[in-house]
Amino acid sequence: MGQFVTEIKSGGGIAVDDTIQVKGYETKAGSRILEGFRPLFSAEAVERLERAGYDIAGKSAVGEFGLDLLGEFAYGAETCDTLRGAAAELVAAGTVKGALCVDLNGTPRRAAALSGVDFLKPTYGTVSRYGVIPCACSGEQIGVAAKTAGGVRELLRVVAGHDPKDGTSLPAETYDYHDGKAAPGMRVGIVKELYGAASDEQKARVTACAERLRGMGVAVDEIALPLADAARTAWNLCLCAETCNNVSRYDGVKFGYRSPDYRNIDELYVNSRTEGLNFLTKFVILYGSDVLSKGRYFTCYDKALKVRRLVAEQVKALFKDYDALLCPACSETEYRPYDIKDAFMTVFAESLFTAVPNLTGIPAMVSGGVQFMADALRDSDLLNLAEALEGGNAS
């Protein structure tokens, strides 16, 4: 099965993205630099699944460190188109019951929208990041993919909850995802800026969804999120800076790939990293390093962190009047191939639709090809909305 980089148990079970550690199984995060790396412990979320009796089906493929659009640029996958959106495809095909994916810059949400499955990036701090190959710790989050909202809810209940090994883990021991508001009576706002930036097909999807919601007694109107564009820039600055720092540990010294070609420590570092990382990761490192540099810290990075607060405040204000926001998860309904040299700006462009939840920690759910966002810890409301829409489908 092409979408698995490592198969652990065949038939059913849960796929785990290759950016999430499973003890004893090679975890490469799609990168040559981690070739042969076998973690000594499993991610907390994986442990929880196993304790609850779920089988881990295998490691689903991701692009190098999950930085690309859909997983196109995994090491050794240049010729293997099947890796794209691996976890979502496995769920869609019914090969697995569900999947754990790291939402770093919207990849699993885009994949879910394109594959027609559900994915929830829960509120930051509700699912432990212990065992995640780290990139942008301030906003990346393990989420759950499944065929239905009910499937997402079932798995999320298992993996969410306080973990003392993650210092950003929220204190609640467990979450009851049945405690949300009922969909009828909710108020949903279509985010004008994101709706406007999408293709006509995507717009049509959102409009159709809005119509169905109205039909079931949900009030839907258009709202403005003027900082949406700034949120994208701010999140990508944070992502590059933090990723630059986090992947600096891969240097050919302690584990993973070491270039055979070196005479001294400098060559060992440079050659291992040059051969071990792809161009997208290299760009992220260089740009991230630059925005943290002495001359640029305050105009770039510090500025991004201030804008982050403004975005969080703007979003918070919207949730005073609205239960959820509705928008596309990506610009188009069809996938367009692109070259790795254009990868950074391609992902940047698409992250317009996904950046706000990463930047501010709010939950976001993709279902039926559209995206909903809710206030922090209102994940249940998103599940209820999706379930209501799916129930409508079934009848």
Partner: protein, 476 residues
Amino acid sequence: MKYEAVIGLETHVELATKSKIFCACGGHSTKGEPNTRVCPACAGMPGMLPVTNKRVVELAMRAGILLNCDISRYTTFDKKSYYYPDLPCSYQITQWFHPICRNGSVEVTTKDGTRTIGIKQIHMEEDAGKLVHDDWTETTLVDFNRTSVPLIEIVSKPDFRTADEVMAYLEKLKTMFRFANISECEEGAMRCDVNISIRPEGSEELGVRTEIKNMSSLSSIRRAIQYETARHLDAVERGTETLVQETRRWDDVKGRTFSMRNKETAADYRYFPDPNLMPILIGDDWLQRVRDTMPASVEEKTAEYQSKGLSEKEIASLTSERALCDLFDAVTALGRDPKDTASWILTECGGILRKHGQVMSELQITPERLSRIMEKVSGNEINRAAGRKVLEAVLYEDADPDAYCEAHNLGAQGDADAVRQVVLKVLDATPNAVKDYLGGKKKAFQALFGGCMKELKGNGDPQVIRALLEEELSKR
């Protein structure tokens, strides 16, 4: 023109904790075989997340209180990036934007008087690993035991003028920190970066500043300061070279400083707040709790011991080690006389440790056992020499004082009458030696003395034996 040196210090002190600052591996960098106090995080592996050790924060607060600092109400951790094989993640977690303490001061006393040295800040950070260079294989071996061991860095203001002041400051920090259980301050657990410039006396402007990195022995620090000050003077007064602001390395063998590679010094560390570590808020309650549970300071202990009649020398020795004070306090609390207790700890325990090649800081004895031995001696149950013997057995054989005395038939020998009986017996048994002695052969005394000791199985108090021998001989 007369010049003065302007010296500032950055002092790294390893904190005395059981575990590391951000993971549960054992603290204390000098313990253990290479890479046995290591976890995936220490080895730079991904997946683990840092969680701050509460004790580290409290020890840093203690240090701040001792150095009269303002303790920050809001303090955070930042990441500092650079590549070196002893830094497994290629970043160090430290405090850049919001250090835990600021604006302190400490008084240092040298033969030239007492001066106040300003403390700019104290911050918490993790240590790096250790590198061992192997000539045989042409490789460098990397040991991560020290990785993430907690440190505080104390940044002084450039207020020192002489190497003597620097020495006095470092000695004072050592005593203070050991005493407050902040650090064991062992060899290598205190490391300094020294900033030096010179200027005409009375001038307010600063000259070109150089920094000498990473020195751990006091004598190296003194010699480096003296060398570097002289180098600056030569450059300024005689134009021997042009000084540049740079980082230098002290070579203890060659006795001089060397400029370090540009790459190591021109680095941009790209500090930024660590998203994995939440801010620490220090409220009045917590700060007060740390103050309340702080061990008494050297000054407080000194005053207390003076009032108990101890000599200056005894006080200095006891207060050199927190553990000695604790032992002294516990033994006197059990009802033993303070002067006597000081003597037993310093003279008797100290003597026995020296005999075994150990130092005072290695002393391990329960207050109850020491008190029991002292009680037996002061109650004339055993004499002092026997007491010493018991003490040695307690220290090195983990013996119980009472059981040991019983097993070795100690108890009566301290009694002067019992010894007198032995003396009389020996004198009667060796009339020739007595005759020789009385005839002027003073050497014969040794034979008589030896006879008594043999009779007492070595447990007699030599002074008592000698006195009784002389007394009984004078009667003959």
